[in-house]
Amino acid sequence: MSKGCFSWIHIVVVAFICILNGCAGTSSQEAAPSVNTPKSLEVTEPDTLTRFGFNQGLENDLNDKNLSRLQSKIDVLLIAQQLRTLQPQQFLNPLITAKTAADIKQQLVSGMLELSNTFTWHYLHSELIGSDKIAAYYRIDNDEGYSYITFWLSADSYKIYDFHPVSFHFSTLNFVGEFTQLFTKYSDRQAQLAELILASQKNEWDTVTALYQALDADIKAEPVLNDFLLRKYSQMKNDSPEFMAALIRSYEQQNLSSLLFESYYIQQDNFTQAIKMVEGLPEFARQDSKMLSEMAILYAYNQDFEPAVLHGRRAIFAAPNDNEAYFVLLQVSLLAKDYDLSIELIEVLISKFDFIMGQDVIAEFDDSANFMRSDQYQQWLKTRSLS
């Protein structure tokens, strides 16, 4: 590859780092990040820091939007090292690698803070991968839903070097590496690619849709291109149903999934496909109580009540002190007309979580009217009134 060509790609890569952290699940806000004023610029970690201790701190920093502490947790040298490992040919030049790494670090911080403006971070757990990497798993949530993030850390220093919103196929660094490769791989069709990318930059989604549909099949099947377009699209304020449909078709053809498409399928009452989008998540996210509850309700809406109850059960096992798992299973039980189970769930919500499960509350649930007319409910009301 010529030096000139590399420079051109580098510009493109840096230009698109800004979309690396596109948010899964909801449109991100464009408001400037709210940053807490650091109390001290020198941030040190205790010598005996554990994985849990580090992640507790990171969770706090993310929710507090503590810029300086977040910056101190990301290591630009590790980023550069990973870039060289992933794409040795692309990152031969130390200066360009360092600049790219610094840009990525900055974008990671911005991206985290941007997510912090909209979401609450929940550290789930972490695991040691091999001997030198830690994958730290987080859930982010707001009123509109949930999504999941993996941070990649160095096992010996607890420094972050990569970040992966799992609704996207690639982590940040993998995306950068793959994206640079894209132009090398399709060097004969760079213009075609550039036109598509520029149109997406300008948010001209009708043009994007037309260009995307006209792409050769091999380019269209490139995971990194689809990942790029999904990241870009997820940042849009306005919907482009045509583009969404085209992209989803492409994902379906490749048997790929993204949690971002779940709501699309739900709107179409295609719960089977919606379930597939959840099933496509990494294991840590699939095993989270929220996603188990999500599966429970999707199965229930799909009139498949046995797996719905089983997922609801697993959601309770996964987070027995989270009342949401019980509420979701209550909804499932009402849809399934499994009123004995409904009564037991109501009992737990009352005794364990102190909810007042009056008729007004129960009436908020779908299909609750039948339940309230049922013998089980009437008998339960009598028992309650006697006790």
Binding site: T50, S126, L310, P320, D340, S351, K352, F353
Partner: protein, 687 residues
Amino acid sequence: MPSHRLYRCKSPLTVLLFIILCSSSVNSYATSRLNAHEPQVSIVAVPEWIEVQDFEVGDLVDLVSPSHYHLVDKQINGIQGKQVYSRFVYSLTDPSGIESNSNIRIRFNPAYETLQIHAIAVNRLGKLVNSLSPADVEVINVEDRQSSNIYSGEVEAVILLKDIRVGDVVDYSYTLVGNNPVFADKFSAGATIGWSIPVDKVNVSVLMPSERAIQYKIFKSNAQLNVETVGQISTYRLGLTNTTEVYEEDNLPAWYNPYPYIQFSEYRNWQDVAQWANDLFDVEHIPSADLAAYISQLKTKPIDQAINAAIDFSQNQIRYLGLELGENSHRPNSPSETFANRQGDCKDKSLLLSVLLNQLGITANPALVSTSSRAHVSDYLPTHAVFDHAIVEIQVDGVSYWIDPTMTHQGSQLDSKFQTDYGLALVVAPYTEGLTSARPTINFDSKIAVKEFIVAADYASPVEWTVTTTVTGREADSLRYRIKSEGQVKLAKAYLNFYAKRFAKIESLRPLQIIDERQQNIITVVEHYLVPEFWLLNAQKNAEFELHADYYSHYAQLPKSIKREQPLAMYPNLSINHKVTLQLPEHIDFSTDEGTELFEDNFVNFASSIIYDRRLLTFQNSYTTKGEYVDVAQVPEHLALLSEIANRMNYYNSITNVTDDPGNIALQKLLLNLNQRRIAQKEKAGE
């Protein structure tokens, strides 16, 4: 699975004498005889060439219990063919000795041996009270290894002594005449000269033509051999008196023989042995039409696929059957015959595989190995008798692969097949000058990773328990064989019963999930259980629990003999990682228990860790072996280390105030309902 001890030939050092002295087992009677040779048993006088040994019988009160050996005599005549004379004289000093020493069994192979019994006498208070008559001798078939599909054609002459009493002196002698012609009259013999009981007098002698030089080597004894040449005959004599008892400790390495013995061999060097083997394996040059057709079919494949197909064919399409009768104890059948019959033993399969690969242009040769002596083969004088197995050395791209065609259910690719480390081999090839290192460069180790994930919804209800076991190497081969031979249902029951020893009310939630990545030779088994008795509520209302990361203990246990004078065997080339994670109902900070302890010596690495993550308490033990055995000098420190490791198999703790939550009862009722549904769903699905 066929035994690895396939060759009929045993080490010359575990000789018949020892079997007779120590064996009290009852041999199974074969229902039919494969050997066409009629056993020849006669009662004849002691041959003239025997130097009859005298002995003394002391007072009964001074003799050892339950039997006292006065004389063990072995004299071998290699002047014309081979004759092996044996004589045993012993007093029975306790009823238990009568039980174990009143049946005389003499094993021989009628294909090339005849039995001459000279005397079987019982003396009581200096008087002969019982003597041998032909009617007392019964010959029975013995096929000890027929369960492993190995048939030797050997028989046993059995004499059941009658009216035996405490104080009787038994004196019997016999000669086995003849030698397996497959050894081309090459002299090789041995004799044990020390046992687990003391012996008053031991005599060993060998008569050979003086022009045929033999080497000898004495193991674990300071005894001196006397060589005397008179005329054309050399006599090698070794005499011992009052040999002490040898205590055989447990968990000995397979190569280690604690008993003193003497070995004789006419081979000058290993090259001579290789030449003998090469002549034996040179059985066919032109393949049959069917075999040629199969070779042509192999040649149509890309070379790597053809190699894998040839190995797979020899391992899985040729049934293991060892008809090791007469010369076939060591001489392989022709590849065409093995191919046509679809059956053979290690040497048959090795020769067939070598020929198949040679036809593909691959360098491959049978190689003789010892499954017990392994790298210690070179401790012995060069002899054919030390080898008991044949494998194949395959050379591809400069790498030697040591493939065992008797193994079934292995990984499907040459690069992923487990290779046993036999240490040394004698490659059967015209150019072989000595023993070759048979230590594989890849795939000689095995890994076991057990991940248990326990999910608790409260501190009283059953927990969900998922066990994911991933194995590689030999462990993958064994597990794959077990899955195929026992079936998934039986395996699932065995696993369930294993855990039921600890949790009697355990229930399976799903059928076993088995993922066999045969190309990489990795098998993963996933088990799902519901365990009611995980929590123990104590008098203080604390919920006690225990985590077990003890898979290691299947492979390394403290021996019975702790104060040792002999080396300690280890399970070689193994690493085990056992990780148990408990997902708690809530965050309880166990950080104060966090830490890793390391235990290491020259033989093992062991690390034990406690890690707390959000709601996840993980107890992990990892164990890696670094050797095959522990030297005597290092045994005490190693056993002390194993004791420390043994104390790290379990983690115990408790959680306080678990009954305070007012929602406990309602939650337990709900969980009971949900768990019953889960089990009912499994039963409904017929799982």
